[in-house]
């Protein structure tokens, strides 16, 4: 018997998840929920999926094994809690919620109910970032002293963005919607920071939310981190995320395509020689069964479905891990106030 999956939200991410899930073997999207009757009518007519305008009704009636929540961030908590209380495995788009306490309570609930719980921080499924994490954990860079994470792209390049991403009340803004990806990636690579020493949220074009986030982190072992994000940068065709990590034995610079590693004299590690080394996504990325828009989007869904089948409640990007990211987001908000 195949897995029955429901989706709440049929925007860019919802449709992308729909296509990926539906292409997986023994899995089908059987129900979708949205407030847009236009999209629902198209999906109902052409894809033949059951449609709902109320999440309660869908979760109660559609007999789902798993649910994907891809709605504006401010709604995640309500939908996620309702689904978990009814025993549905859950994949929620990032960020998990807009408050660490809500994220923490969802994480607790998911563990109590033994439901698979995952958040869409897809960078953790990119081969270059995974290899960077492996090197850091194995001690190839020695003791980490500094980490710098940045993301630039063109989400808001005019004073006219009218989507939920430009509304604070719905969880929009560069911090929750964009910087959270970088924070999560930095957490993935070196663990979460202990403190946020200072932060600045700047408005460039938006009315209601920030378009750029800068912050300074400090870590348990004395390391320092810098976060720099700006979603009003039209020189990038799409979101471009780069992390640099310095350690006592060397340093690495990593983005979604390329991993550059420098190792100091006498510190060659496995296939990495002293001096500069380059590895590319072409050799680091594991293939996926169905490709839509980057292996990471498929790989995270494959991991989610695999965890459901294996009865493993904590895959990569669990709610507990996403809670740590929401906690740092909250510290940045407080530090910038």
């Amino acid at each position: 018997m195949g897995l029955r999956v429901g989706i709440i939200g049929t925007g860019k991410m919802g449709l992308s998840h729909f296509s990926i899930v539906n292409a997986m073997p023994d899995t089908a999207v059987v129900a979708v929920c949205d407030t847009s009757r236009y999209v629902l009518s198209v999906l109902s007519k052409y894809v033949g999926v059951e449609t709902f305008t109320s999440h309660e009704e869908m979760i109660d009636k559609a007999n789902l094994d798993a649910l994907i929540v891809a709605t504006p961030s401010s709604t995640h908590f309500e939908y996620a809690r309702y689904a978990l209380e009814r025993g549905v495995h859950l994949f929620v788009e990032k960020p998990l919620t807009l408050s660490p306490s809500e994220s923490g309570s969802l994480s607790k609930l998911a563990l109590e109910r033994k439901r698979v719980n995952q958040v869409g921080f897809h960078n953790r499924f990119i081969g270059t970032f995974q290899e960077a994490q492996r090197l850091i954990r194995a001690g190839a860079l020695g003791t980490v002293s500094n980490i710098h994470g940045s993301a630039f792209g063109q989400v808001v390049i005019k004073e006219q963005n009218r989507t939920w991403r430009a509304k604070r009340s719905e969880g929009g803004g560069c911090l929750h919607d964009y910087a959270s990806h970088v924070i999560d990636l930095m957490n993935f690579l070196v663990g979460p920071p202990k403190q946020v020493q200072g932060a600045s949220l700047q408005t460039i074009f938006s009315q209601d939310v920030e378009d750029a986030v800068s912050a300074v982190f400090s870590y348990e072992n004395g390391a320092a981190g810098i976060l720099e994000t700006n979603w009003s940068d039209e020189t990038y065709r799409k979101m471009s995320t780069t992390v640099t990590v310095h350690g006592t034995k060397g340093k690495l610079v990593v983005d979604r395509q390329e991993l550059k590693v420098y190792l100091r004299e006498g510190t060659a590690f496995e296939g990495y020689a002293e001096g500069w080394n380059s590895r590319y996504i072409t050799s680091l990325q594991k293939p996926v069964g169905f490709y839509l828009r980057g292996e990471e989007y498929s790989a995270q869904i494959e991991a989610f479905l695999q965890a459901i089948r294996a009865g493993n409640a904590s895959p990569e990007n669990s709610f507990a891990s996403a809670y740590e990211t929401d906690r740092v987001v909250d510290l940045i908000l407080k530090a910038s106030a």
Binding site: Q160, R237, K238, Q257, Y280, S283, F290, Y291, L292
Partner: protein, 289 residues
């Protein structure tokens, strides 16, 4: 039936698309900032006997088309394979103004023409009408040029493939024939799945374009599945990303693809006459064997 040359010229290098390095992509964007620099490389490829330009419907393609129309005699044998849509344009617009306004923004003439064409009544529920509007909007800048094959980009092909909206492929195919006297082409990262889908809706001997390279980079289903469908299914296959963004040395990469039964054409991009000639010669030599 459209003739497809064995060697086609691609455009990623002109628009800052590089799957290996963001730095290299940026350098290329700077190098090809002026349309004249793009035209210069196209001229070099043309003078070496490459006739077909497989080009994304990027905003700047309009300027290139203007140049070609202004020098009709020089480019009379030039062939264009438009690849639509330029997805980032839509994706960025959806992030900025939402789905509905994006549709209005990019359909030909916006709402006015939609009303005039009587599509508005069925607009809400007819995705075929919407598909036709978007195709017309993307094809406007190719007016008067020779476009015998028109491709749908992989992000859209594969989205529809996952949604199992296979009838859209058939509608696209027949609309292009009827309106543009052109054949449909389908770019995909999931060739085995796509060929099944096209067969299911009766698109016979389809023109398909997919990553085909020795290391299996972005070949969903794996190299063996690709080898199998290329040999056993009737299709006109164009190989792209043959060098896997530079991960495979050129000669090794090209010899492997050219030795694969079922591959009819190769599309590649290059920014200098030396690279164009080298790749062209490697392909010609491999296929002569």
């Amino acid at each position: 039936m459209a003739t497809i040359d064995p060697i086609l010229f691609g455009d990623n290098q002109f628009f800052g698309v590089n799957h290996m390095s963001e730095e290299k992509a940026r350098q290329q964007l700077m190098k090809f900032k002026d349309t004249a620099a793009i035209v210069e490389v196209l001229d070099q490829a043309f003078d070496m006997g490459i006739r077909t330009f497989m080009c994304t419907t990027h905003d700047r393609i309009g300027e290139i088309c203007d140049h070609m129309r202004a020098h009709r005699e020089r480019y009379k044998d030039f062939v264009y394979f438009p690849c639509m849509p330029y997805a980032h344009k839509y994706a960025n617009s959806v992030s900025q103004v939402g789905v509905m306004e994006t549709i209005q923004r990019f359909s030909t003439g916006g709402v006015v023409s939609t009303v005039l064409r009587g599509a508005v009544g069925t607009f809400n529920r007819d995705i075929y009408a919407l598909m036709k509007l978007l195709v017309d909007s993307e094809m406007k800048r190719f007016q008067g040029l020779n476009t015998p094959v028109i491709f749908v980009q992989n992000v859209v092909t594969d989205l529809l493939l996952g949604l199992k909206l296979y009838p859209v492929f058939a509608e696209f195919h027949s609309y292009l024939k009827e309106r543009y006297d052109a054949e449909a082409g389908f770019i995909t990262m999931n060739l085995p799945l796509l060929l099944d889908a096209l067969a299911a809706v009766g698109v016979e001997n389809p023109i398909v374009c997919a990553n085909i390279n020795k290391i299996g980079f972005r070949m969903s289903g794996g190299v063996d599945a690709y080898r199998d469908v290329l040999q056993t299914r009737k299709c006109r296959a164009i190989a792209m990303s043959v060098l896997a963004s530079g991960a495979i040395p050129p000669k090794e990469a090209i010899d492997w693809v050219c030795g694969l039964p079922g591959v009819q054409s190769i599309v590649f991009g290059a920014s200098s006459p030396g690279n164009i000639r080298q790749t062209q010669e490697l392909i010609q030599r491999a296929w002569a064997r």
